[in-house]
Symmetry: C2
Subunit: 321 residues, 2 copies
């Protein structure tokens, strides 16, 4: 939950006067998102989400994120659509921060996904990959294999305080992944953070995808590995093969997976698990005093990593090549 | 900012199915309020605020709070109106907590009130006092003079860590107020917490009052004293006599103040200042580990208390008897 920057009614009204949205009627800080401040804004023309980009987001990346949402929305992906101001800009400044107004998406995120949700997410992810194919901007994935060792270095001296042996386990995994990380798989624009709280459902339909602030260019199958980790484990940390199958089949109905992608999937899942283990570990160890955000449990991702280390082939995820 | 209880989409949809509000379209935790969890809920029928009452709110008080909002709304006060379910009840259970759905009020709260806002608040407060006169339920003010010494006892051993001499200053003030607290002033239903974040404005109009969860029966002029403290001091803690005059004149345009009320006003302002100094001090000293709420500065109210201690008569607040 996060509202880091308080916005005054007068400055918000001023900011909105440069948009064709009618007068401001109300706004509320919303307790969602971790990196940025978000407000739900009501004007005479409707409801919008206002995001103020806080310091953890690199301002040079904003044109990529905002351009991508525009690009995907134009291609029929239900995602927030940036609203342009009278100067044709989707990015402005408010309360000393870069700020963007996007359309509001109806729908609820699912706390306990069922297999059909996983199937819908697999399909939606494939749609994003297909729709993103001709997006002209490029953003390197700062949190891919080359970004993991620096995170490990930040955490190593204190990692064993969380769980004895954690440091050695990460070091060994890092060595393995750096030595075997695939290089020739199909790449494109990936969401890179499609967790349940970033996917909305309305009734029995997936109604929208949000939070493109980790999107980047990387291997498409790596995005699927992130989703398998985020959606297909049970609260007791056991992998649910029915959910895995549903997600993978949903995905390949729209974008067939190449043999090399299927073969690499266990390794990509290990990498995806290590990436979230490492970022959560750093967040856990570096909670700033007075933080209003509760860090997420890193060890959840250690358990997922251990599962993938034991996987022999893609059939353990519920599908055959 | 506060969302203590996470609500699942399925259980919320279930809860709402007992209300005549149509299907659930979306809901967002909102970063407002300190005591309870609040969600902005969108259904086919419109927007609502859903409040889950957390443990700091006494469940026996809920009929008073909800009944009062209903009573005031029926008498033309713009306040959230409780929505009744199909059993005619405005109070239900959700996620293990008592929960109520109320109508959504448009408007924004003002971070930097001007004198005209203070005048409007004075008028609105008088309207509440008049409209509340025939409200049949009664709730004792647990945070009036009899409630202050227990708070002082909780804080006394550590108060001087915040500011040397604070403990003695509070003790002396408490003795004075207990000895001189007025007894025969007009009483009725008071809001008791009408701070700027509980008053909405839309354009140049006051559009609504929210958060009746401290409302109780007490001296009406004490409510005005709380508002003078909350609205009429500048960020540098100086009292703004123009704002004070505006508020008091706004109030007495609708409900004339008796001579005894005017005479008691400096003392009531001291009491109101001590009440918020004490509750903020206890909150400051007792922040639970991992709290997601930042405590407010108690010393702001020490400075307000010191101002009122020097006040000779009501003319120092900008009006004459």
């Amino acid at each position: 939950m996060a509202v880091y920057t308080d916005v005054q009614a007068e400055e918000l009204a001023d900011f909105l006067s440069n948009y064709d949205v009618g007068p401001l009627l109300s706004y509320k800080g919303i307790a969602e998102g971790v990196e940025n401040s978000n407000y739900l804004v009501h004007t005479r023309r409707g409801y919008f989400i206002l995001t103020l980009y806080e310091k953890r987001v690199d301002r040079d990346d904003l044109p990529f994120f905002i351009g991508l949402m525009e690009h995907l929305a134009q291609r029929g992906i239900n995602c927030p659509q940036p609203v342009k101001n009278r100067d044709g800009e989707a990015l402005g400044m408010l309360a000393g921060r870069p700020a963007a107004l996007v359309t509001f998406l109806e729908g609820m995120w699912v706390r306990r996904p069922a297999a059909w949700h996983c199937a819908a997410v697999g399909e939606a992810l494939a749609r994003v990959h297909i729709a993103g194919a001709d997006f002209p901007l490029v953003r390197k994935n700062a949190l891919s294999v080359a970004g993991w060792r620096p995170l490990y270095e930040r955490a190593r001296s204190r990692a064993d305080a969380l769980q004895p042996g954690l440091c050695a386990c990460i070091a060994a995994e890092l060595d393995h992944l750096e030595g075997h990380w695939p290089r020739d798989l199909p790449t494109g624009v990936i969401h890179a953070d499609l967790f349940p709280d970033n996917v909305f459902f309305l009734g029995d339909q997936l109604s929208g995808l949000i939070d493109f602030y980790f999107a980047c260019n990387d291997m498409l199958a790596y995005d699927l590995a992130i989703c398998l980790n985020a959606w297909c484990f049970e609260p007791d940390h056991a992998f649910n093969v029915t959910k895995g199958r549903a997600m993978l089949q949903g995905y390949r109905r729209l974008r067939p997976l190449e043999a090399a992608e299927l073969e690499a999937l266990p390794l990509l899942c290990r990498g995806a698990a290590l990436r979230f283990l490492l970022t959560r570990l750093v967040d856990w160890l570096e909670v700033p005093p007075g933080a209003l955000v509760r860090p997420k449990d890193p060890l959840e991702y250690l358990r997922k990593l251990r599962f993938h280390q034991r996987v022999k082939a893609v059939r353990d995820y519920g599908i055959t090549v």
